[in-house]
């Protein structure tokens, strides 16, 4: 037995020594049953609002968490919203994004000055653009699943992050996210990272005073698409 196997055995034995593993032969069945059909969690009322109200809740929490929210009627307006936000904040008209088909398919020619780069972000990229897998009304949280379509570095390295939220991506609470992840990746499977983002990066480590832009983005702009 290798040293690492021995450590493993020792640890399981130590854990079992403290647990009454003989108390019930059904321990394993109890666990299997619970894994197969987890008990229904207590879902807060605010996470169960009708779809029409979820959007307003999402928006108000995001704004409360210092994100900028821009609402557009159709996907066709996204390039203009992106360019407008960058101009208003004196930022370069160059965005880094993954290979997401929805973002690729937008009419970027409508904003000829806006440059779009594809691939993972590097330290030199100043603006990242992503499309979210879900957005949680309950807490004002964006959910991003990593992959070629959405490299995780795009979410964290640039100083400015712009995230597109389609109406259909909005869920009431966390439970809606688990359902989507299981539908997309299969039960009990995840992309390498699933990132919950609830505003720009922040810290209060110096004198307890809140400052934006600790290590991740200083600015988060969320584009809510109605159509």
């Amino acid at each position: 037995m290798s040293a690492s196997d021995k450590r493993r055995e020792r640890m399981y034995a130590a854990i079992r020594a403290g647990l009454d593993t003989n108390a019930s032969a059904d321990r394993r069945r109890t666990v299997e049953t619970r894994m197969h059909a987890p008990p229904a969690p207590l879902v807060p009322q605010r996470a169960q609002k009708p779809v029409a109200e979820q959007r307003a809740l999402l928006k108000s929490f995001l704004q409360g968490q210092s994100a900028t929210v821009i609402e557009v009627a159709t996907p066709a307006e996204i390039p203009k919203a992106v360019a407008g936000y960058l101009r208003a904040n004196n930022l370069p008209l160059r965005v880094r994004a993954g290979t997401d088909a929805y973002l690729r398919g937008l009419d970027w020619r409508s904003e000829p000055a806006l440059e779009r780069l594809e691939g993972p972000a590097a330290g030199t990229d100043e603006v990242g653009l992503s499309r979210v897998t879900a957005a949680i009304a309950e807490t004002g949280t964006l959910v991003l699943a990593s992959g070629a379509d959405n490299p995780v570095t795009v979410t964290f390295l640039p100083e400015t992050h712009i995230a597109v939220v389609e109406q259909g991506a909005i869920v009431g609470g966390f439970e809606g996210v688990w359902a989507r992840l299981r539908a997309r990746f299969g039960k009990a499977t995840m992309s390498r990272t699933v990132n919950f983002v609830s505003g720009p990066s922040r810290t209060a480590d110096i004198g307890g005073q809140l400052v934006m832009g600790a290590h991740g983005p200083r600015r988060l702009c969320v584009i809510l698409v109605a159509g």
């Binding site: 647990l19 207590l42 968490q65 972000a121 490299p151 688990w178 390498r192 990272t193 720009p200 004198g207």
Partner: protein
């Protein structure tokens, strides 16, 4: 049941404890004006924000019960959930390592770094890494270790340890940070302005960004390990944990066994409690679920992912009264609401975990003999238990440590003698009545009509801070006898 094996740590802790010098630590902390200024600036705000967040979620109290049930269930089946987690994590491509002791964890991680030919290691915030003394160990082995959580960075450059589990630099003032940055970041212009927190944060961001980009290995902790998916979860506000794990070639997670939870649903319940209890946020800015190394089609992320699962004596708590402490999700609410912590800060506790949770956990991890002062450092006001999202009965567990310490022959000699005298009297009712009658008469005579003593021999510990009420001539038993006989007062 308090197991005798908990009296002494089986192995000496790898991180030295100054807990035996607690009383001296406290005197120094109370006299430290910078510490007192820093503590006053932050801790009360955290408590107030937690209250506001709780009030904004009507289901909060009911969620605490759900959270407690989840952890109790998981702990009762910990071996089985660990097996499930291990299998799923391996299936996702992670290497799972088992570390029964802190030294095992250190050796495993150093080995990973050596194999990766690492020179620079970045770290996200991890109390477990503090518990095993990881930084010092890796540095001795020649690695450059850089803490990236801003608070952790601030204390690392001072050679200090965290004084709070979620706000590690809570003991520092802004002026101290400025001095440290000027002392350390010498390549920057000397006349730069650093009067605002935002300027200090920007400077740290720029310095640490370079470290993120050059790191070979990134080490993070975990708030949860999910049996269902083999994922580990970190919760941060800065995003440093994400740059730490996504940029280097190798990601190492270090987590202790009680971080296991069964499913995503369970994580949801605990997330609804964690940030609200910790900082009063609805949710922390970043919650990241990590599952294995980069996939074939991924354009970024680490090529290797290692998960080091630490025991360090926790398994010994299973099946004892102290099992309840393993429900802790490390929110820090107990210390934010503790009058003792608020007065002395975290360092005085003398080991890795301060505050009420430390007073219960430290004796369990390093033995009550060297940490006996900690469970005694409590006013028993009960606020820690009242705010604990996992409803850990912290004062009750401190009381159990006091019992364990006493039964083990610990405690001051005078205290034991006093108790013996008291027991001798209390077992002899007649002698007791006579003695108390004399004592009460004597004391009320000494008071000479005043209602209270300002000074009293042998009781200066009491009278230095408050008056001692003078007895009113008769004992309770005398009054009671008169009452029953119908004598008007």
């Amino acid at each position: 049941m308090t197991s005798a094996r908990l009296m002494d740590a089986t192995v000496a802790p790898v991180v030295e404890a100054t807990s035996p010098a607690f009383k001296q630590n406290v005197r120094e902390a109370l006299a430290d004006r910078q510490l007192q200024e820093a503590l006053g600036a932050v801790a009360p705000g955290l408590a107030a924000r937690r209250g506001a967040a709780r009030d904004a979620l009507p289901e909060f109290e009911a969620l605490r019960d759900r959270g407690r049930e989840i952890k109790n269930h998981t702990l009762a089946h910990l071996d089985l959930y660990l097996e499930l987690f291990e299998a799923k994590a391996r299936a996702a491509g992670s290497h799972v390592h088992f570390a029964p002791t802190p030294q095992d964890a250190r050796d495993i991680i150093l080995n990973i770094c050596r194999k990766a030919d690492a020179k620079v290691v970045t770290k996200g915030k991890s109390m477990i890494s503090e518990e095993v003394g990881l930084n010092h160990f890796l540095e001795e082995a020649g690695l450059k270790v850089v803490e990236t959580d801003l608070g952790e960075y601030l204390i690392q450059i001072r050679g200090e340890t965290p004084s709070h589990i979620i706000a590690p630099a809570i003991h520092l003032t802004q002026a101290q940070v400025e001095q440290d940055f000027r002392r350390l970041h010498t390549s920057l212009p000397r006349n730069r302005v650093l009067t605002e927190p935002a300027q200090l944060v920007s400077e740290a961001r720029a310095v640490l960004r370079q470290r993120f980009l050059e790191a070979d290995v990134g080490i993070t902790g975990a708030n949860f390990m999910i049996a269902e998916t083999g994922s580990t979860v970190i919760v941060t506000n800065e995003g440093n944990g994400d740059l730490t794990q996504s940029l280097p070639r190798v990601h190492v997670v270090i987590a202790s066994i009680e971080k296991l939870v069964p499913t995503l649903e369970d994580v949801g319940t605990l997330l609804r409690l964690l940030a609200r209890s910790a900082t009063g946020q609805e949710i922390s800015t970043y919650t990241t679920f990590s599952t294995g190394p980069r996939r074939k089609e991924d354009p970024d992320g680490p090529q290797e992912c290692h998960i080091v699962v630490l025991d360090n004596g926790r398994s010994q708590l299973l099946g004892t009264d102290f099992q309840e402490v393993l429900r802790c999700i490390r929110c820090g609410a107990c210390m934010n609401h503790c009058p003792v912590y608020g007065a002395i800060g975290g360092h005085a506790y003398g080991w890795v975990y301060p505050g009420p949770i430390g007073s219960v956990l430290t004796p369990a991890l390093i033995g009550v003999k060297s940490s006996a002062h900690l469970p005694n450092a409590s006013t028993f006001c009960g606020r820690c238990e009242a705010v604990c999202p996992m409803k850990i009965p912290l004062p009750g567990l401190m009381r159990k440590w006091r019992e364990a310490e006493f039964e083990g022959g610990g405690g001051p000699a005078l205290f034991g003698l006093g108790l013996k005298l008291w027991a001798a009297l209390a077992r002899r009712p007649r002698l007791y009545h006579v003695a108390t009658r004399f004592a009460v008469l004597g004391l009320s005579g000494l008071a000479m009509g005043r209602g209270a003593f300002r000074r009293l021999p042998f009781a200066s510990g009491w009278t230095r801070h408050r008056d001692f009420p003078a007895p009113q001539r008769r004992t309770f038993q005398q009054l009671w006898a008169e009452h029953k006989a119908g004598v008007p007062r």
